[in-house]
């Protein structure tokens, strides 16, 4: 019981740690899993494409993970997690019924409203497709609200491609262009080989009417921005999702500071004009 003489250490609802249980696990690649979480009975979860949650593995720790599911499905909260550290290893070992602590959603997402009526080019590298999948869901569900849609996706190898089934179904749609490439093919791969920016050769963008949503490793985003600018896209129509170490998710721990911003609350999605003086700068 909290008496009147005590102050809660958690001031806002989304900042409170709560449990969700794993309802489904999809193995995407050798080390990457999509974990679907179910909110407590009677509760529903809403978020905006591009936002993230802080996920807590009991006894191990907490990490920021972008939400990779359908914003309209408020009963299954998806996170695509690559096992790269102690917490993500622990989270990806969870199976149905497992428990995950959740704080969130946090951060500013993609400019879905601002981009209404415009063409959209999504450029994703590797696991960078995860925070963009909610965008694709939303574009499909509100297809008439947007112009042409291009998805350019690159991964290291065919085995590293995420959401393979969905990629296939997106490719099958007549109302969007989906191009995929890998850095290195294998004997079964019949698609493009090369970095994601080479896919720009195959699409015709209307520079005056296109919004670009970009997420991937920083080096990939750097070259993507160069390509977009070469295509004539203005800086203020390019959006990037940044990644930095985070401990709190709410702008008080200082870890994700990036120039005059905290990535957790001012981002993770930034308009390129906001960050261009720092973006891509070595060790910044």
């Amino acid at each position: 019981m909290i008496s009147s003489g005590q102050a809660r250490l958690v001031a806002r609802e989304e900042a409170a740690l709560k449990w969700m249980s794993v309802s489904r696990v999809v193995k995407e690649t050798l080390d990457t899993y999509t974990i679907y979480l179910k909110p407590k009975a009677g509760e529903r979860f809403s978020f905006k494409p591009g936002q993230f949650n802080m996920l807590y593995a009991f006894g191990v720790g907490e990490v920021p993970i972008s939400i990779s599911g359908d914003p309209e499905d408020r009963d299954n909260v998806a996170h695509t997690i690559r096992a790269v550290g102690a917490v993500t290893n622990s989270l990806t070992r969870l199976r149905e019924g497992g428990r995950v602590g959740v704080r969130g959603p946090f951060g500013r997402g993609w400019p879905m409203e601002e981009a209404m009526g415009k063409d959209i080019v999504i450029v994703a590298g590797g696991i960078g497709l995860a925070p963009l999948r909610p965008v694709v869901y939303q574009l499909i569900s509100k297809r008439q609200d947007y112009g042409k849609v291009f998805i350019l996706y690159g991964a290291r190898t065919p085995n590293d491609l995420l959401y393979k089934k969905e990629l296939k179904s997106w490719k099958g749609r007549m109302d969007m262009d989906v191009l995929v490439t890998v850095d290195k093919g294998d004997e079964t791969w019949k698609g493009n080989v090369g970095v994601v920016t080479m896919l720009f050769d195959y699409v015709k963008l209307d520079p005056d009417n296109t919004y670009a949503f970009v997420c991937g490793p920083e080096i990939m985003m750097r070259f993507t921005v160069i390509n977009l600018k070469n295509k004539g896209l203005p800086d203020d129509k390019i959006f990037l999702s940044m990644e930095r170490n985070m401990k709190c998710g709410i702008g008080i721990c200082g870890h994700c500071q990036f120039g005059p911003y905290f990535v957790c609350k001012d981002g993770p999605v930034f308009r390129y004009t906001q960050v261009k003086n720092f973006f891509g700068r070595h060790e910044f």
Partner: protein
């Protein structure tokens, strides 16, 4: 309070009365005291706990106490502690979590009353800065909010600057202009030891009325302002604040970052003693049976490699980049984030740097070779 009212005067021996009145009002009284050869901040029960007749000698990477010839109560400047340790404690337990799923979010006593005695003008500004960061953002920090709610600020002006002080150039001292309940200027005269008192708030007015006081006369007011003018003049270090933000933004690539890195040990002392550095990390503590986990927040430093770690490695793996990050934040990006620099000119980072890296010097060096490395800034 208009602040235009005539200052008051109390005798030094009545300082104790202020302290006991604060205690009667329910405040825990914190103030300077000597421990381990340094003036630190802790609970003080009476004026006798203060460093009476103690002074300090500071330099880059050096700090020594000295005995003064007089019985000054505040004859030293800032030591390794700052008030952030009470408002934003070094360690806080956030959660206790059981393997059966029970989450116990920690609570903070919302009725705590703290009185800070001997708060220097630069430290008042540091508290204002912490308010901005931890209280006035989108997600106020509940720990800070609970602790900050009822703080009595008894400030003391700095009539003798320390060797590493540069508050005058930062515009934060040596005289407190606002943000205090009471502000004292210590007057050591042949005719007696006293304090000139400025009242900042109703709370301060009530407190001062609990001890014998009178209106200060013209001589006393003039003496105090002379002392403060002299203090400003005697302050050796300074930073040119005009244009500093742009200077640093222009020099993100500059040979001096690497030169500092040759000396910097990346120990993080500067961030621990800094009265405004607020960064924290969270660590997990579990029992051996994994039945019980606790999440603890503790001060962190941007000088560690782990601070910027993301999968694959740290963003800032060189010390040069970490020093740049820290200095840029203090003097440039902080201004864009919170409206003022994150530096108050207290000089602690200079004193407590084991190799004596001096922020005022480093900034000068950057200015000297401004624009030597051309950086495209659009």
């Amino acid at each position: 309070m208009s602040g235009k009212e005539r200052p008051l005067l109390i005798n030094a021996q009545d300082f104790d009365g202020l302290l006991s009145s604060l205690k009667k009002l329910g405040y825990t009284t914190y103030g300077p005291t000597v421990r381990d050869g340094a003036v630190i901040y802790d609970v003080v029960d009476s004026a006798n706990d203060l460093p009476i007749g103690i002074g300090d000698v500071q330099g880059p990477g050096s700090y020594r106490l000295r005995r003064r010839e007089d019985g000054a109560l505040f004859g030293y400047v800032v030591g390794p502690h700052s008030w952030k340790r009470f408002l934003h404690p070094p360690t806080v337990k956030l959660y206790t979590i059981s393997s059966n799923g029970k989450i116990l979010a920690s609570v903070e006593n919302a009725n705590q009353k703290m009185a800070f005695l001997g708060v220097r003008p630069c430290e008042l500004q540091a508290i204002r800065i912490l308010d901005k960061v931890l209280l006035e953002g989108e997600y106020p920090d509940p720990v800070y909010a609970a602790r900050r709610k009822d703080v009595f600020l008894l400030a003391v002006n700095c009539v003798e600057p320390g060797e590493n002080c540069f508050c005058a150039s930062m515009g934060t001292g040596p005289e407190a202009k606002e943000g205090f309940d009471l502000c004292l200027t210590e007057l050591l005269r042949p005719e007696g030891h006293s304090f000139l008192v400025k009242v900042g708030t109703e709370k301060g007015k009530e407190l001062i009325s609990s001890v014998p006081h009178r209106q200060a006369n013209d001589d006393e007011i003039e003496l105090a302002s002379k002392l403060l003018a002299l203090s400003r003049e005697r302050m050796k270090k300074k930073i040119e604040i005009n244009g500093l933000k742009d200077l640093l933004y222009r020099n993100l690539e500059h040979p001096h970052w690497d030169e500092v890195a040759k000396r910097c040990l990346a120990c993080g002392n500067c961030t621990m003693v800094c009265p405004t550095c607020f960064c924290t990390t969270v660590s997990e503590a579990t029992d051996l049976f994994l039945k019980h986990a606790e999440r603890w927040r503790r001060w962190d430093t941007c000088f560690s490699r782990e601070f910027s770690y993301i999968h694959g490695g740290p963003i800032r793996y060189s010390i040069s980049a970490r020093y740049r990050h820290w200095l840029m934040h203090k003097m440039a990006t902080w201004v864009d984030q919170f409206g003022t620099p994150g530096c108050v000119g207290c000089g602690r980072c200079i004193t407590w740097c084991p190799v004596g890296i001096d922020i005022t010097e480093e900034v000068k060096q950057i200015g000297k070779r401004d624009g030597e490395v051309k950086v495209k800034v659009e």
